[in-house]
Symmetry: C2
Subunit: 353 residues, 2 copies
């Protein structure tokens, strides 16, 4: 247990700047390269077990007669309220979606808040109302909770942890490790709306049309999809780090090359304009109401039909294919050329969820 | 859903001062009167279901063939390290103990951290090592997690949420509502050591002998106790708000009067001296390695014998009795007089866990 922290392990030769620090930097929370390196350096050497090794959105525990999915997420989004949602509803959707990505039917949520001294009680109550309404809409009770208060300047209004448990039906097995060369890659709708919506409020930007967060619970879409295609390899919700982070994680988890067509990834005009203005890539912007599905070639038709027949998946499309090759993500452009998609190292957008 | 927040509901006529605020104050996080009023005003009007109505340390969900306990706690203790533990081991013990108080055998933990920009990575790693070692000692894996980073001045080093799941054996039913007049009240050992240990570091106090936190996992003590006395009414770990808060909660939950003898509550000399110096009541100081048990009179002998034969319960004693009467807590002094124990309204010790 006397292992010395190797700070150099945190430095990536391709992006030496703030990541070589011996202190926590914002990029460590961005859900992409720096986050992964932080966990590899400080967490996984101590915590290691078959569940964490899956690097999935949640864990599936075998209870003998049933299988339990268990997941956790803390929400620190700033601002607390944004077009299309607030930290309360986002916390419910985020955890419901993590359970759904494990193939689980959500059973119950917990809610633990850290309040900053001085937060108006009306704000707290409004957030709790948003959280409660979101939980009611998905018909999943919040069964246990916790409230802590920290001094002014030691928090930021409100942070919310929602953990969740759910039951996984027999036979379901959705894991990055199941993704195999030949699998097709689908997305359920336009990407990056949540990230762009939060950013537009935070930066005080006014776009021609308001960008609303896509924050939405996907458990029903997933149930329909898994009924149509029970052999699905893996599902992932592209939250922090966006679709780009998901593709990198799956390439690593599956030990395979991922190739996708840039032009096929659905992006709304409003999100595209915002990204152009701000120099951001929509592929790296968070969603909280979209999923990325990995499915055998033979099931693509059934999967797309199932997604498109559901209100939350109408704009579903195929964006790429998993190929034999070393783990990396390759973009095929509209002109037919291929280039590597780098794993974003910095943080285009801290505190997005 | 247009219910207006009644700020006056937060004001208690017996302690009007800071609680009548329309903003969050530190006392709202102290686990006693103000915390309860905050939840009644801002949370429970929106979130209400049979599990939350139990006001227990966790929820027990019926899965058909098994019963699942589910609990959550965020740890914001300051300082991060103290004699006898750190925020990492405390987070494991706190959640293991909440599961144990539900009568559950702990199955798995989650770990979600909020890091403040600028935290030395070595501190983060040390805390994760403490957490991992504590989890290994109880043989419960940390199966899922999350990492967020907030800007400098928007957090305080590290906050850790640990949620937990466990299985409750058939027939076990530990709930405040099961406590009945005639039940005896036992504590498993000297109280207040955790609170006094944290306070001694925070205030830079040196006592004659160092006060070490009692932070310890109690799942094994509880298993032994429930094997000896399967009909136990309720178990509670006196964390925030200490034994005083537990007695008040149970009086309210059971709708009965609780009478206890001040002089019987075990307190070490060091904790007593610290409390005298600081004007604190050991009854209100947090523990994280003690339990309060409510048990039928006929089982007191078996319960005490079971507790005392376990290394973590050697100093177990009976401190009082549940009586027919309206919900309140009565102290019987060494002189035989009776007085009411008020529910602490303020916060003797913020950020103790």
């Amino acid at each position: 247990m006397s292992r010395k922290l190797d700070v150099r392990a945190l430095a990536n030769p391709s992006c030496p700047a703030p990541l070589a620090s011996d202190r926590v930097v914002l990029a460590h929370g961005a859900g992409a390269g720096a986050s992964a390196r932080l966990l590899e350096a400080c967490v996984f050497p101590h915590l290691d077990n078959p569940w964490l090794r899956e690097r999935h959105d949640g864990a599936v525990l075998d209870l003998g007669t049933s299988r339990l999915a268990f997941t956790t997420d803390t929400f620190v989004v700033s601002p607390l309220e944004f077009p299309g949602g607030d930290i309360g509803s986002l916390a419910v959707h985020g955890t419901i979606n993590d359970l759904a990505m494990c193939g689980a039917r959500p059973l119950a949520l917990s809610c633990a808040v850290v309040l900053e001294e001085g937060l108006p009680l009306e704000t707290f109550e409004r957030v709790m109302r948003g959280l409660a309404e979101a939980a009611r809409r998905v018909d999943v009770p919040v069964v246990t909770g916790d409230t802590k208060v920290v001094e002014r300047g030691k928090g930021d209004g409100i942070f919310i942890n929602t953990s969740g448990v759910g039951l996984v039906a027999a036979g379901r097995d959705l894991r990055p490790g199941r993704v195999a060369p030949g699998d097709a890659i689908l997305v359920s709708g336009p990407v990056g709306c949540h990230g762009a919506a939060v950013l537009s409020v935070r930066e005080g930007l006014a776009f021609e049309s308001e960008i609303r967060s896509d924050s939405e619970p996907l458990h029903d879409l997933v149930e329909a999809l898994l009924e149509a295609v029970p052999t699905m390899s893996c599902l992932r919700d592209p939250s922090r780090g966006g679709v780009a982070a998901v593709l990198h994680e799956i390439a690593r988890g599956a030990g395979a090359e991922i190739e996708f067509e840039d032009a096929r990834v659905p992006v709304t005009d409003a999100v595209r304009s915002a990204c152009e203005l701000l120099g951001l890539d929509p592929l790296s912007l968070a969603c909280e109401g979209r999923l990325v599905a990995f499915v055998a070639e033979s099931e693509v038709g059934a999967a797309l039909e199932s997604l498109r027949s559901h209100p939350k998946g109408r704009a579903a499309v195929r964006i790429g294919t998993v190929r034999t090759g070393r783990p990396r993500v390759v973009v095929r452009t509209a002109l037919g050329t291929r280039r590597l998609l780098p794993l974003p190292a910095g943080d285009p957008l801290p505190r997005i969820c």
